[in-house]
């Protein structure tokens, strides 16, 4: 059973089980300064290793960019 996640508005599929820390590695943003919201709630960086993602989760993964 695949895990369907909606990440930054686009559907992506992964092999479960997957934690937020695992996802960060799969997305290639490990070591980057990002912040993650899961289903409308912030996932603190200290909890990336604990939070197991569930099928249908909606995630926002953001960075700081130039802006005024």
């Amino acid at each position: 059973m695949e895990l369907m996640l909606r990440i930054n508005g686009a559907e992506r599929r992964f092999e479960p089980p997957l934690t937020v820390a695992g996802l960060v590695g799969r997305l290639g943003v490990e070591g980057k300064r990002v912040a993650i919201e899961r289903n409308g709630e912030i996932v603190p960086r200290s909890r990336y290793g604990d939070v197991l993602l569930a099928d249908g989760d909606r995630l926002e993964v953001v960075v700081a960019v130039g802006g005024g």
Binding site: L27, P44, E60, V61, V63, A64, V65, G68
Partner: protein, 263 residues
Amino acid sequence: MDDRLVIAGKAYRSRLLVGTGKYRDFEQTRLAVEASGAEIVTVAIRRVNIGQTAGEPSLLEVLPPSRYTILPNTAGCYTADDAVRTLRLARELLDGHSLVKLEVLGDADTLFPNMPETLAAARTLVAEGFQVMVYCSDDPILARELEETGCVAVMPLASLIGSGMGILNPWNLQIILDRAKVPVLVDAGIGTASDAAVAMELGCDGVLMNTAIAKARDPVRMGRAMKLAVEAGREAWLAGRMDKKPYKASASSPVEGLIGKTA
């Protein structure tokens, strides 16, 4: 001479705050920000480009939070809810940093703020412990409401974001300045150095700008021009300008001792 800008209890030497958008590249951003002398720089929060970021430098490597006070904004948000979510993400991104710039837009053509949504977002953010610097219209009553809500600075527009039209309503700004107990910064609309100087001569506590520097022909040089303009305007305001005397000239040279006169 200790003339600091104090926002939420923290003192800054520079009264110029700059945005980091619209530059050619990160190197130009870095150089222009350096030339401006700004200590507070705004950034936007956006979705990461998955799969396209490997090896790319990030903005916060170019402008490290150890050196600059990073002011995350909510540019592009049209609802209080989106603005609040964006700043919660920003706080997480910046390790609990709580000083933020709130802006909730009402219209894509004018980028005019939606003030009811801005007030709603400000209430939520203040309740959650954010220190909110707020982009707003130049309505003195709304500015007062934002202050009463607990915002740490109010930032009325001088003219539309990115328009470079300068200060269109100095009289409204003056009313806000006369009444506010928190710092008042002009945010948006500055076009060139004289606009920034005028804002400071009105008594503004600071100026926030982006496009005026980023879209100058030479952004690094304009960064320096803005630094000087903000300093000059501030000094002029502190010095207290002479009275305007529209109908009566006053010679600068002595009127006695002119040659060719009989005693």
